[in-house]
């Protein structure tokens, strides 16, 4: 591990000052090489899939996440080609000013250095993370799940070979091949080699990293997202947004988990929206008030307000007013994505100002919290912490700034 960390650190120093043309060339080479090595990658993936089929951890959903196909390999390659088209954040002087003594002081965007990522059994993350890190001038240390180890080895081999072809250090992308848990412990303490650690995966992994890491962490977290329908709202719009936020892809972090409804429009809104949700296969769990409006509603317990179902289940609560909605969201929400549907200007402004979350929506589905949907290009995850990066993490989140100071001999008085 230490040897690999050191190698990545050295590669990062080279990568920091490589210009975009060379980084883009490497990204294109990797993309092409993924496609031309399709057979070898699929063979490695098959070994992982066979192991999974024989293991206790098998589930259809897990199998689907782990599985690669020619289309999925093409998808990863195309993802890299999209990164080529994004602007290089490195070298951007975000501000520059002149002081009374003539000093010119500016801030320039530079890579973080070495970014480590610990992630679940999704081989596409290996390629996405390597691509984003490369474009932003960082070396990446990849520690994928043991279930994907053969797929990851095959993918990283392609990446490293392409890096060398582009005359870049292969160690700009390093795979930790040991699947021992102790390796993650080591990563968390490797302050000399790793500048930031991004854990992706279940809450227990993320909690363990936050509790034990001495390396700075960017937390990508759970999404217990809400939509609040105000008493002054276009109910057709509200219904379309609520159904979309719940059912368009229920298994992801920006899907709605609780619907809050102002009591004044509960009677006009709830019967229709619940019927529409039930039609889409959603199980609705509601407060006592909600239960009055539809026979399909099961009773919700206190626990439901705090649950991220990631499934076709929805909690529904009738609230007295905007204040109660905001209080509920700030209490049970995970500071991910929160929406209001309203026609009232003042209500919209007040909601946006008072909700503490990575993304606050007026009259739109929370499902848009996503790097591509926001127009940032690819993303490495969605940060739910407040420091450094918040919301979808694109290329900029993988940079820091340094002050540059140009003088003509100034000394301090």
């Amino acid at each position: 591990m230490q040897r690999k960390g050191k190698a990545a650190k050295n590669a990062a120093a080279v990568l920091a000052n490589v210009n975009s043309l060379i980084k883009d060339k490497a990204l294109s080479l990797i993309a092409d090489s993924l496609e031309s090595n399709e057979e070898e990658i699929l063979k490695a993936n098959e070994i992982d899939l066979k192991h999974l089929e024989q293991s206790e951890g098998y589930s259809k959903a897990f199998h689907d996440r782990l599985m690669l196909t020619p289309e999925r390999i093409k998808g990863m390659a195309d993802g890299l080609r999209e990164i080529v088209d994004l602007a290089d954040p490195v070298g951007e002087v975000t501000k520059m000013w002149r002081r009374p003594n003539g000093l010119q002081i500016g801030q320039v965007r530079v890579p973080l250095g070495v970014v480590a990522i610990v992630y679940e059994a999704r081989p596409n993350v290996t390629v996405d993370a390597a691509g984003l890190a490369l474009k932003s001038g960082n070396a990446v240390v990849l520690r994928g799940s043991s279930e994907a180890i053969n797929s990851n080895k095959a993918l990283v081999k392609v990446i490293r070979t392409s890096l060398e072809e582009a005359a870049l250090p292969a160690d700009a992308a390093v795979l930790i091949e040991s699947t021992e848990r102790s390796v993650v412990q080591e990563l968390m303490k490797a302050n000399d080699y790793i500048d930031v650690l991004i854990p992706r995966g279940g809450p227990s992994l993320i909690r363990a990293v936050i509790e034990n890491s001495t390396v700075p962490v960017i937390q990508t977290g759970a999404g217990n997202c809400h939509t609040y329908v105000d008493c002054q709202a276009d109910l057709k719009m509200a219904e379309a947004i609520a159904v979309n936020a719940k059912v368009q892809r229920p298994g992801v972090c920006n899907a709605m988990e609780t619907l809050l409804v102002h009591e004044d429009i509960a009677a006009a809104f709830l019967p229709n929206v619940i019927t529409a949700l039930v039609k889409e296969g959603v199980e609705v769990r509601g407060c006592t008030e909600t239960q009055k409006y539809h026979t399909a509603v099961k009773p919700a317990s206190e626990e439901d307000w705090a649950t991220e179902y990631l499934d076709l289940v929805l909690a529904v609560k009738v609230v007295k007013n905007l204040e109660e909605a905001i209080k509920h969201i700030n209490k049970f929400g995970t500071k991910h994505s929160e929406a209001i549907v309203t026609d009232n200007y003042h209500t919209a402004i007040y909601f946006v100002d008072n909700i503490d979350a990575a993304a606050v929506y007026v009259n739109a589905s929370t499902r848009f919290t996503d790097g591509a949907e926001f127009g940032l290009g690819a993303e490495l995850g969605i940060s739910t912490q407040k420091i450094h990066a918040r919301g979808p993490m694109g290329l900029e989140a993988l940079t820091t700034q340094k002050y540059i100071v140009y003088g003509e001999g100034q000394i301090r008085q």
Copy 2:
């Protein structure tokens, strides 16, 4: 502690949406009130000073840092008045754009929430931190050194009373009065109440916080700063910069600790600069080569390159070229402030690009790394980490951003 943390969290929710006029009024009230309560504050400070005089930790420098005087109280009050004059960072929409589907997506600056600071026996930090936190809409949890407890109590009493007079929650500034070490342990684990923890003080405190904190930390670190004098340099300018960086205030983190000199100008530069430094009372420790140029030079050991003297001591090394200088700095430096003196355009650019530090200087003294000198106003410390904030931390470093998304019913396809 938990009770106080909760109180601060509640105050933070109020403060987040208070407009600048009210925050500025509170800052002015605190400033005036510090001056009108001068007698009470000095009395409390005297108790601390007496305790110190009777303790083993006594030193003249410590006594001086702890001591308050009418002028110093006026200085603290004036510091707050300067914060009034700074622009409020909260509410600034730093970017906003429209997506093809019509969604308007922006990023707005918002307070972090609750900022905790653990600091040394400097009562002025109590007032500076409270002032910066208030202006940026954050609640602050203050844990000063036990030696300053009476001074801090008196200061925080004034701050809290003034907050209430301005109709703001007193709990926007909370002093942890217990001087038990276990309180710091508690602060480090208080993720429910504290959004960011800033340790100020010696390396052992900072290391302990980095190793144990589950709350995100902003590291304010040591400064082993260098000045490199290139073979093409104005040697008069180089001498002025080197002397200034070393002697203008040797006890602070942006003072120079090692001078690197290109071998081609060593003979022309070193005798003069060493004479000038010695005249200012500096002890010079040099490499074998340096020792040839002045009889006052003592031999430097490997340890000297890694030492932050914070005193009138300087390490000097002759290097073969720019590459060796950069390698030395990136190996021994603490990523704080690094300078080059050169007349050569290419050398300047190369140095700036390849030095990994919070601030990189061309032809100026490293002593300028400071919030006020950079034009940021007051500062809460100088971050030497890469994530979130790097360099002098002013008001912006105490904010995060949230995405705001304005729609007209958009749903995801």
